[in-house]
Structures are given as structure tokens and as C-alpha cells.
């Protein structure tokens, strides 16, 4: 394995079904349904996916949902704001554990 990530592998995502047909198909049916218009629009879901792609740091997902956003006419400013929303939660998730640290300090050394 010369590279852990190859952008061409994204095209092969559907191939996962070959080694486990039922589960693969169920996953892709579910996946397709999730991103249809519902209580949220497909456009809103695309921006959520883009933000999560970044918090998960998944290169395939960043590739796919950047393209998806462009296809939907989503602007650069909207895309960057979505990423900031993800980053803020990611940062906040780290920082809110500071309360745990503070509780421990107060218990041990209060």
C-alpha cells in the first residue's frame, strides 16, 4: 500500500456492496434517502454533510461534498460558514471538557 488515500478510490465506494451485498445495498438505500428533501432541504443537508466531512477529516467526503455544494450553487461563503459551525462544535467539544478538568482540580486541590 503506497498511499493510504487515493482520490480515485472514491469512485469505487459502491464496490463495498460486492463483498456484502445485503448490507451494502441497505446502506446505500439509507444514504440516498437521508439526502433527499425532507423536513430539511437537500441543500441544507449538503451543508451539514460538508461540515461533518471536515470534523471527521474524511478526504473522500470533503471531495464529494465540496463538489455537491458547487453543483447546488452553494456559495464559497456559505461553505466556509458551514465548516466554521463544525469547527466551533469540534473546538467547543474539547473545551467543554475543561469543566471536567476543573471539577477534578477542585476535588483534589480545592
Amino acid at each position: 500500500m503506497s498511499n493510504y488515500y487515493d482520490s480515485k478510490d472514491l469512485r469505487k465506494f459502491g464496490d463495498i456492496t460486492e463483498w456484502s451485498e445485503e448490507l451494502g445495498e441497505k446502506f446505500f438505500d439509507y444514504y440516498g434517502k437521508v439526502f433527499e428533501d425532507g423536513a430539511l432541504t437537500a441543500r441544507e443537508k449538503s451543508l451539514i454533510a460538508l461540515a461533518v466531512a471536515h470534523t471527521e477529516q474524511c478526504p473522500y467526503c470533503i471531495d464529494a461534498y465540496t463538489k455537491d455544494a458547487l453543483q447546488r450553487g452553494i456559495t464559497k461563503a456559505e461553505m466556509m460558514e458551514a465548516i466554521h459551525a463544525g469547527a466551533a462544535i469540534k473546538g467547543g467539544a474539547s473545551l467543554v471538557h475543561g469543566v471536567m478538568m476543573m471539577n477534578k482540580v477542585n476535588k483534589l486541590d480545592g
Binding site: 463538489k67 458547487l70 453543483q71 447546488r72 450553487g73 456559495t75
Partner: protein, 355 residues
């Protein structure tokens, strides 16, 4: 950094200005080594080979490749340097055909069709033929390019012309990136002027439709949702109204092919097109109901085949010999660029062709 002004492939003496070089490129590499199926193989799989015409509905006439703009993705490779302009003699041959055709739509395109010196005379004569839908594809900026064009909205109105105009996005940045600096502001002004004479109003018979094509190496999204986004943004920001949006896929030919190769997006883009192949779109692809006529009177299956120099496979090849029955009994010429019309919801000069 100042952006270099774009020139046509012809002006740059690019190899890709030659149609045979484009066709060669589209048959090599991933299509030659079998990574992707050729278009003929693909439509064979779905029982659509050979592709045959259905009833003729649209006569599309390209009155010249000269244009006041040099858009980055132009499939015509149009620009101010292009001198291919339809003569009045050829226009007269077209008028004879228009008077007798069974087609319900006449579609004038270019370049900027308004730059043909006989454009107005031709529209005046053609509008007398009583064709149901008479389209002029106007790039909008031509209306603001010179005083002699300022009255075009009134002229279009007088002849009940259906105006179809390109608008890649509702934001300045994306529009100017694709169509040139200042194009967005001029297009907005032109749309407001068209609205002012009644074009695009909800209950108006003066049809104003916009054409959206992606600004880069990606496919268009759902036509209806793009139309909603365009309508909301153009109304909110500029008070502009229009009827429908046609979402069109960029075909990998001419300047868009050049862009795909230079930006190293060619392979990925072709994979996207092939992956999105939709047999339902093949059923309604525009070459099955259209004849495209070039500035010099030659006949083609579509405007894209015209740019690739692929004349119709028929005994009748020129407008002077036009015969609808003979023409309709032909096989449509295909190559890998045709994947652009069959991806997703499909693509045509009238927008999507499938659900």
C-alpha cells in the same frame, strides 16, 4: 494578480481549435484503454443504438460565431475575432425552410446572433412564418454593448421573440469568472430592461428564460431547485423576474475541454458523466428532435456536432438541398461528448430532458 484576458482557441492557435483534434482526444486515453465505455457501447447496452431522430420539433440556426464576450466554457469557441457570419443568401435559404418546416420552434443562436449585420432583417422575415416559438439566444451584455443595440428589448417585443439568456450564477464573482469582468453588472442591467418592457413577468406572454451552466468541472444540480434559488436571489437583490431556468451540462468540447485538460479535471469529469448516464435522458436527447444549421448552411444533429464538424449522416447535408423527410431517416452521429447530454436529468438547449 491581474487575470489574463481570455482569447478564443482559434486566436491562440491552439491545437484544440481543430475539431478532429478534439474528437481524437475524446476517443483516446480512458476510452481507448477500456477504463470507460465509449458512448456507442453504452447506448448499445441500453438498446438505444443506433440513435435515430423522432419528429422534428426544433430548427436551430447558428447565424455566426462572432461574439462580444469570450466565456471560459464556450462550446462554440466564439469571440470578437471569429469572422464566420451567415450571409443574407444563406439566410434566404433558411427562410425558405422556415416557411415550410413541420418544426414548432425556431432557435437562433451564435456567437451573439445580434452581431450578424442582417440579424434584424432576418428576425422580421422569419417572424412572419408563424412559427409557434421563436427563440433568440441573447447573451444579455450585447444589449448594453453599444448604442445601436440599446433598443433590442423593444425589437424583441415587437416580434414576440422568446429570449433565452445565459446566467451562470446569481452572484457577481461566479458569473464574471466564467463570462468575463463586468458581465454580471451588464447582464443585470439588461435583465432589468427586458423586465421593463414586459419580458419575464409572471403573466406575460413575452418569454424570458435563463440558462444556467456550471462554472467549473461539475454537473448541474436539480433544475427546479436551481430555478427557485435563482428566482429568490435575483428578485431579492435586483427585483428581476424571469420565467424558467434551463440547467445545462457543459459538454467536454472546445474551450471547456481545454479547461478540463489544463486544470487536470478531464478524467474525473468524464467519470462523472459516465457514472451519471441515464437511459431515460437518451430517449429525449435533443438531437432526436432538432436540426442544427451552421453559419454556412451545413446541417448537423446538434450545435455540439456542428462545432466538431460532424455533418449529418444523410444525403441531404446542406440547407440548399433541405428535405425534412429524407433528413429524418438518418442515424445520429455520436461520440464521447454525447455523455454530456445523457448525464443525470439530461441536458439540452431547453434544459433537462428527464426526471
Amino acid at each position: 494578480m491581474k487575470k489574463e484576458k481570455l482569447q478564443s482557441l482559434h486566436k491562440r492557435d491552439s491545437e484544440l481549435a481543430k475539431a478532429n483534434k478534439q474528437l481524437e482526444f475524446l476517443s483516446n486515453g480512458i476510452f481507448e484503454n477500456g477504463d470507460l465505455p465509449k458512448f456507442a457501447e453504452k447506448i448499445q447496452e441500453t438498446g438505444n443504438f443506433p440513435l435515430k431522430p423522432k419528429k422534428l420539433e426544433i430548427l436551430q440556426i447558428n447565424v455566426g460565431y462572432m461574439c462580444n464576450q469570450v466565456c471560459s466554457h464556450c462550446h462554440v469557441d466564439a469571440g470578437p475575432d471569429r469572422k464566420e457570419i451567415m450571409t443574407w443568401e444563406t439566410m434566404e435559404q433558411c427562410l425558405d425552410v422556415i416557411k415550410n418546416t413541420g418544426a414548432h420552434t425556431l432557435d437562433l443562436t451564435g456567437g451573439a446572433p445580434e452581431m450578424n449585420p442582417n440579424f434584424r432583417r432576418f428576425v422580421e422575415e422569419a417572424s412572419k412564418a408563424g412559427i409557434k416559438d421563436f427563440i433568440v439566444r441573447s447573451n444579455l451584455t450585447i444589449i448594453r454593448a453599444n448604442k445601436k443595440y440599446y433598443d433590442l428589448p423593444e425589437f424583441f417585443k415587437k416580434h414576440n421573440v422568446h429570449v433565452v439568456s445565459s446566467m451562470p450564477h446569481w452572484t457577481r464573482g461566479k458569473t464574471d469568472k466564467q463570462r468575463g469582468d463586468g458581465v454580471f453588472d451588464k447582464s443585470i442591467k439588461a435583465l432589468q430592461e427586458l423586465n421593463a418592457v414586459g419580458y419575464g413577468m409572471p403573466d406575460s406572454d413575452l418569454r424570458l428564460d435563463l440558462v444556467y451552466n456550471p462554472s467549473g468541472a461539475f454537473l448541474p444540480s436539480n433544475q427546479q431547485s436551481m430555478e427557485n434559488d435563482f428566482k429568490n436571489a435575483l428578485m431579492e437583490d435586483f427585483g428581476i423576474q424571469f420565467h424558467n431556468l434551463f440547467a445545462i451540462t457543459n459538454l467536454p468540447i472546445a474551450r471547456f475541454l481545454d479547461y478540463l485538460i489544463a486544470s487536470e479535471n478531464y478524467e474525473d469529469y468524464m467519470y462523472q458523466l459516465v457514472d451519471a448516464y441515464n437511459p431515460a435522458a437518451v430517449e429525449n436527447v435533443m438531437c432526436t428532435n432538432t436540426i442544427s444549421i451552421s453559419w454556412d448552411g451545413w446541417l448537423y444533429d446538434c450545435d455540439f456536432n456542428q462545432m466538431l464538424g460532424l455533418k449529418v449522416a444523410s444525403k441531404v447535408k446542406h440547407i440548399k438541398d433541405y428535405n425534412e423527410d429524407v433528413l429524418n431517416d438518418r442515424n445520429i452521429i455520436i461520440s464521447q461528448h454525447c455523455y454530456g447530454c445523457t448525464a443525470g436529468a439530461g441536458s439540452s438547449c431547453q434544459g433537462s430532458v428527464a426526471e
